[in-house]
């Protein structure tokens, strides 16, 4: 294949070479120059309407919009020249004449591009006489999770273009003309598409708001942590926005190979799971007919003792929400048993694709690590695992809720060790209960359905004495002299990459924040 032809140009005095056909606004990014813009978004078709990205190009008679201008050899571009600055200042002043300036009560404040650019380059005072009326339209419920505050709208049309071209479900429009224009919807239609929530992220101002997030937090109070969506097996890259130890919302994190700039509404709702209050906060041991809280040392010693004393058959029943690291260590832990290793996958019929991004959909497997479990030898064989329970010397459950597992099946197990975030009624039959952390409280990796292994990062502290499952399992392995202990998930992963061919050569550093696609082929090693 021929090499991509490169074009050389100068942006704010900085030389830059980019492939032919690149838009000036993207070339500037590569030169480290951010050209202010509103309507442009790399995930949407170009509109060229906000006129904010006007730049001066030498030899061009007029200012040009960087979002719709392709680079040309020898182009000399000025972003900060007097002419370009003045044009941006003009746009900002125009955008503000009908804007309510209600930042103190606006959810977008602190992450508002209008606020940012006005602060950066706008006029200190408007020349719009205060006696002039501002455009006023009442707040409208667009349906789904979305409210429209028309007074704040700058008509960038990102939302309309997203629904038209990416969701391909045109339920939004620009209505009316001139300064009477607003984003409209037809009364017979609602903004309830499974991917509609993206319009809130795309809105550069506080005009489209999530009802769920409404007035919950100020943007500047939030910490952002890179994570992977747990809503399905697609592996969308996300950020967890936390305030203190609460995840307040989940937003997409760009990954051009997976979800581009988007995530579905089902994924957004997963933060609720991460904040659940009904957690196991201490290790528990069976004492008579009760479970009693004990120290970690005590609980781990008891679990190790049980495992050491058991021989024969074992059952591992895991959730596809568990990290690859925990799934691996559990296999190692039960290596010397005749093992039935099963993963229970919740499947919801039908998928909800985002048509504008090929290969992206809310998948029917509603868990993030089905592929990770599969690659590590867990089979989707829940019934088989249940049948294997009576008579098994030991059963270890990792985060599975035990729904539908008959009590007599559990009663027939030699010893039940339960690792999980919550304690289902059935788990009260356990010999030892070891409290684990959820995705927001630990580091780890998931493997998406497309075999992309991706890292997620700890976003908030764990409740009580809960620990990451990899730590718990590492301690048990160490107690049994089979490996470990581990100080970090990264160390577990290093061991995994040495032992399992399919993960060979990988490390957390190599995975970075965008992940790596695993080669095809079955894993070798444990349980094979």
């Amino acid at each position: 294949m021929a090499e991509t032809e490169l074009v050389n140009l100068t942006i704010e005095g900085l030389p830059v070479s980019v492939p032919k056909g690149t838009l000036l606004i993207e070339a500037a990014k590569q030169a480290g120059v951010m050209i202010p813009h509103y309507c442009y978004h790399p995930g949407l078709p170009v509109a060229g309407v906000c006129r904010m990205c006007l730049v001066e190009i030498e030899k061009a008679p007029k200012l040009q919009i960087a979002c719709a201008t392709q680079v040309a050899e020898g182009m000399v571009v000025h972003v900060l020249s007097e002419k370009a600055r003045s044009a941006r200042q003009g746009v900002l002043e125009f955008l503000l004449i009908n804007h309510p300036l209600d930042c103190p009560i606006c959810d977008q404040a602190g992450e508002c591009e209008l606020q940012d650019f006005v602060f950066q380059e706008g006029r200190a005072r408007t020349r719009y006489t205060p006696t002039y009326p501002k455009r006023f339209n009442p707040v409208e419920d667009f349906g789904g999770d979305i409210l429209y505050v028309p007074n704040r709208c700058i008509l960038c049309t990102r939302c309309v273009r997203f629904m038209d071209e990416v969701a391909q479900h045109p339920v939004l429009n620009v209505s009316e003309r001139g300064d009477r224009a607003y984003i409209g919807i037809h009364p017979e239609q609602r903004l309830d598409h499974p991917w509609a929530g993206n319009v809130v992220d795309l809105c550069p101002v506080g005009s489209l708001l999530s009802k769920d997030f409404l007035h919950k937090a100020r943007a500047w109070e939030l910490d952002k942590t890179a994570s992977i969506c747990t809503g399905c097996s697609q592996g969308c890259n996300v950020n967890l926005d936390t305030r203190g130890d609460v995840v307040v919302r989940i937003r997409p994190r760009p990954n051009l190979e997976v979800n581009r700039y988007f995530m579905c509404d089902h994924g957004r709702e997963q933060y609720r799971r991460m904040n659940r209050g009904d957690r196991i906060e201490a290790p528990l041991i069976e004492r008579g007919s009760e479970l009693a809280a004990v120290t970690w040392d005590h609980a781990l010693a008891e679990a190790a003792r049980v495992l050491k004393g058991a021989t024969g058959e074992a059952v591992a029943l895991v959730s596809p929400h568990a990290s690859t690291e925990a799934l691996f260590l559990l296999r190692r832990l039960l290596q010397r048993f005749s093992l039935t290793a099963a993963v229970r996958v919740e499947r919801v019929p039908g998928e909800a694709p985002l048509p504008g991004v090929p290969g992206l959909a809310l998948r029917s497997e509603r868990a993030p690590n089905v592929m990770g479990a599969t690659l590590l030898g867990y089979r989707e064989a829940f019934e088989e695992a249940v049948e294997a329970l009576p008579g098994a010397a030991v059963a270890v459950v990792l985060e599975d809720g035990l729904d539908g597992v008959p009590a007599q099946a559990l009663a027939g197990v030699g010893h039940l060790i339960y690792l999980g975030t919550r304690l289902p009624e059935a788990a009260r039959a356990a010999r030892v209960v070891l409290p684990t952390t959820n995705v927001a409280e630990e580091d780890g990796t998931f493997v998406s359905r497309d075999r992309r292994i991706q890292r997620y990062f700890q976003a908030k502290p764990a409740p009580g004495m809960a620990r990451p499952a990899w730590w718990v399992l590492g301690e048990l392995l160490a107690a049994l002299g089979q490996g470990g202990p581990f100080l970090s998930a990264s160390e577990v992963f290093d061991w995994l990459s040495r032992e399992e061919a399919v993960f060979g050569g990988l490390s957390y550093d190599r995975l970075g924040t965008q992940g790596v696609v695993l080669p095809e082929g079955r894993p070798a090693g444990v349980g094979a």
Binding site: F94, L155, G178
Partner: protein
């Protein structure tokens, strides 16, 4: 001829020859007057040759921009790989302009013939005539003429017996000035909001339905059969001043003038003669104050400028304005320039498509400032503000609607500052100057 007036000896009657002659509206009447001969002639020519002839004639776009027509046609792909389209811009909506309306009302077959020749030249099987929704009568007349043209085999699968298919369809607008902008017009035909498109791509590469498209104004096209019939040299010889402006042009004269109407003049004709000799000058007891020579979007001329302006592309530019569409709006000494400029700005604010920020917000803001001045609540700073906003609204948007709003404001303040200052200094007059 200056319909509704009899032709004036100083007019050069080409396009307007049959204005007022209802017989010319029918197929028979048109053929009797030599109609459809040019089409027959053109169909026998190589398309490239037709384009050559139009290029040689010096014909330039009559819709406002003055782009050389033959050159525009030559941008179309020579080899036809996908459908080509012709759009005829009959959205005539520029305040002060009403020439295309008369062409359609009186010589509908002339326009059909012209479209067919252009279709042949650019290899477009289909043409759409985009006619503004308010033109109910021209629509009916054109629709009837099209029916006749199909019945007579001028159009259809074997157009004029050429063995080739030519179709012309009428597409009715629904009230949007901006649809006169070429890419907005294409969006409107496609069933979209009439939003102008960013360029590139240009229509000749990707226009209507994404296909190579040429778009011409009614008057531009209407000149083509005459050029074919009488030759490029003849057309080119019609030029009184600049050799870059050739042929005849219809000037729609309106406003405060004795004999408003359409006058067909050779390019380069003096505006003064048009106003005083052909149109009879200002109404009794009145004097000329100002004149907009090319439709409401071009800068206003004061009396002195108007009386020394030559009516061609270069002559208007020399006076700091533009020939535009040839809509000549006359203001006499009774006119309240501040009010009329506000009224123009209000037009643009009403018609802004809402895409570009400067236009959407700037046109409306301009109106508010002007209304405040008119209410006697203005400030001297408002004039500088208006000029500054006009600067922000010029050359920065997808199309020129916001430039068009700015032009009369800037030229108005420059040339009639005293009237603005009077409102600001003295407040609203107890009896406002006559607006009629």
């Amino acid at each position: 001829m200056g319909y509704p007036h009899p032709p004036h000896p100083k007019e050069t009657v080409v396009l307007s020859q049959y204005f007022g002659d209802p017989e010319a509206r029918t197929y028979e009447g048109w053929v009797k007057r030599g109609g459809y001969q040019a089409l027959e002639q053109a169909l026998a020519m190589d398309p490239a040759r037709v384009i050559e002839v139009v290029k040689e004639s010096g014909l330039r776009g009559r819709g406002g921009a003055g782009f050389p027509t033959g050159l525009k046609w030559s941008f179309m792909p020579k080899e036809k790989k996908r459908p080509h389209y012709l759009c005829c811009n009959a959205d005539e909506s520029e305040p002060g302009t009403f020439k295309d309306r008369e062409i359609m009302r009186w010589t509908p077959h002339g326009l059909i013939e012209a479209c067919a020749i252009a279709q042949h030249a650019i290899q477009a099987e289909v043409a759409y005539i985009y006619i503004r929704g308010e033109f109910t009568e021209p629509y009916r007349i054109l629709a009837q003429a099209l029916q006749e043209a199909y019945r007579r085999g001028v159009l259809g699968p074997n157009a004029m017996g050429s063995g080739r298919r030519l179709d012309i369809y009428l597409h009715r607008g629904a009230g949007a000035y901006i649809c006169g902008e070429e890419t907005a017009l294409m969006n409107s035909i496609e069933g979209r909001r009439g939003n102008p498109r960013i360029r590139p791509p240009f229509p000749a590469a990707s226009g209507l339905f994404g296909m190579p498209t040429t778009i011409n104004n009614v008057e531009t096209l209407a000149a083509v059969p005459h050029i074919i019939k009488r030759g490029a040299a003849w057309y080119k010889s019609l030029s009184l001043s600049s050799p870059k402006s050739t042929g005849t042009k219809l000037f729609s004269v309106c406003g405060q003038i004795r004999r408003p109407g359409n006058y067909e003049l050779t390019m380069g004709f003096p505006l003064k003669e048009l106003l005083y000799d052909l149109c009879g000058g200002p109404r009794p007891g009145r004097t000329l104050k100002a004149c907009i020579p090319g439709g409401s979007s071009v800068p206003i001329l004061d009396r002195e400028e108007a009386e020394s302006c030559l009516l061609d592309y270069e002559g208007c530019v020399a006076k700091g304005t533009m020939l535009g569409s040839g809509g000549v709006i006359v203001f006499d000494d009774s006119a309240d320039m501040v009010y009329q400029i506000m009224r123009l700005a209000r037009f643009y604010a009403h018609e802004s498509c809402a895409q570009c920020t400067q236009c959407r917000e700037g046109t409306a803001w301009t109106v508010r400032i002007l209304q405040r001045i008119l209410a006697g609540e203005g400030d001297f700073k408002d004039l500088d503000l208006l000029l500054d906003l006009a600067e922000q609204m010029t050359g920065k948007t997808i199309c020129v609607l916001s430039d068009s709003c700015a032009a009369p404001v800037v030229s108005g303040i420059k040339k009639f500052r005293g009237e603005f200052e009077a409102y600001i200094k003295n407040g609203r007059p107890a009896r406002a100057p006559a607006r009629a």
